[in-house]
């Protein structure tokens, strides 16, 4: 072996070792700063992690675009949906008077809220776009209580990293990190365009998350859990979406 090729071999080896350890350090840093999505395993994990990490760094506090009142879509499209289950129909027949939102997990004061209680909190509204992963979209005025306010009422513990939210429909649940949970435009929405939130758009209560695609804005919310790990929920991938083949983070 000539000197040149030996030198080349050593340099290449050192460069490779440096590269691998740099990747290792980057991975540990990313994990520490919450830049790794729960569905990072598998062949698409690298792309998901790059997207989530870069958007988390870039968009932690940025606000979703808001529109003028005259830009509101004439009809807020109610997407196709499976017929509601018995529990929902029972509550609907009572005018949703008995609808409850229970909050538990890493909170100091677990609680259960009625719609009227939620409506007694500061009312916020936003004219934002709902964009579906399929490609269509509409703009509506969403009215509700900021999720951050409800989290303040129950007293989120410092260990909290995610909020998991569940629909009354079985197997329909999602989760978001605290950057999204505490974001001022993340609502527990009960109204739309000056009226009650229609059932077709997720009424009586929908989690509204304008910085991510529509499927993260789960309809018919009844339960929130604050947690420091998503491992214990479903298959541990963060939400029902990755279990159905869709990405957990939908800020794209």
């Amino acid at each position: 072996m000539s000197d040149i090729s030996r030198r080349k071999l050593i340099t290449t080896g050192l460069a490779a070792a440096a590269g691998v350890s740099a990747l290792g350090v980057a991975a540990r840093m990313a994990q520490k700063y919450g830049l790794v999505p729960p569905d990072h395993g598998g062949i698409y994990g690298l792309g998901e992690t790059l997207t989530y990490a870069s958007q988390r760094l870039l968009t932690r506090h940025s606000l979703a675009r808001e529109f003028r009142r005259n830009q509101i879509s004439k009809i807020p499209l109610a997407n196709e949906m499976a017929p509601p289950n018995e529990a929902f129909k029972r509550l609907q027949s009572g005018g949703f008077a008995d609808w409850r939102l229970s909050v538990d997990g890493l909170v100091d004061r677990p609680a259960s809220f009625s719609l009227n209680q939620l409506k007694s909190y500061p009312i916020r509204s936003q004219i934002t776009q709902l964009a579906c992963e399929e490609g269509w979209s509409y703009i509506a005025e969403w009215i509700g209580a900021p999720l951050s306010h409800v989290l303040e009422v129950v007293g989120t513990q410092p260990k909290a990293r995610y909020v998991v939210y569940f629909s009354i429909e079985p197997d329909w649940w999602e989760s978001i990190d605290m950057a999204d949970a505490l974001h001022p435009q993340t609502f527990l929405a009960y109204g739309m365009n000056g009226n009650e939130l229609p059932v077709g758009n997720g009424g009586p209560l929908r989690l509204r998350l304008p910085r991510q695609l529509g499927y993260k804005s789960v309809k018919f919310i009844t339960h929130l859990t604050v947690t420091d790990s998503l491992k214990g929920f479903g298959k541990g991938l963060g939400s029902a979406s990755p279990e159905a083949g869709y990405a957990w983070y939908a800020g794209i």
Binding site: L46, E48, L58, F67, N79, S137
Partner: protein
Amino acid sequence: MGDSVCVPSPASGVSATTVTSRHSALVRITHWIITLCFVALFVSGAELVISHPRFYWGETGNVLTTPLFKLPIPSSRALVPTGYGYVLPDQNGWSRYLHFQTAWVLVLTGVLYVIFSFFSGHLWKDLLPGKADLSWRAFSTAVSGHLRFKPPSKAEAWSYNLLQRLTYLFVIFVLFPLMIWTGLAMSPAFVSAVPATVTLLGGQQSARTIHFLDTVLLLLFLLVHVVMICIAGFRTRMRAMITGQADTNLERT
């Protein structure tokens, strides 16, 4: 042989040992990575379009609004009125994962290519037209030569002709950047940080429509590119882009 080319080597007797590469290694590697990326992005992108084969202009658009145009294909969603009596299976999950992961690979490879082109001289030597070519006469001669299927000159075995240069520049510096831009403009999170990405295009649905039309242009480029390679000599050109070797007559044994 119609597609044979000559190595401009003065000493013909020893030319077999002085093979110069037509394409540098970095150009060849990035070319094939980007080719694979394009295939993956096109297939997954087509799958995504099937879930809503309607295109709009402006901020919003859905089945209740008038489309700019729609594709005469069935859809993977029952919500979309297509005129077909059936609904295709939903393939959006893996299509989305694949689309966005591949986009990362393509963008990073593209950035590497552009930086390399800038510093290695590839951009100045091979892509930007020479001074002599920057005239309407040179341009019209090149166009008419192409239209009359004039065989390529010998110099073209070593470098790109004027129309090639202009097309490649357009693809590299207009179509691909526009694709990335319109892609980012559809991201609700990205535009929350950089709203101009979408407002400059006239809205999220405009961005989606431009993204689609850009795909059509890139696909057209791919077809013409492949046809031109077949005309210029498929084996020679493929070998040049795989091994870097330019000459068909030089077989190293």
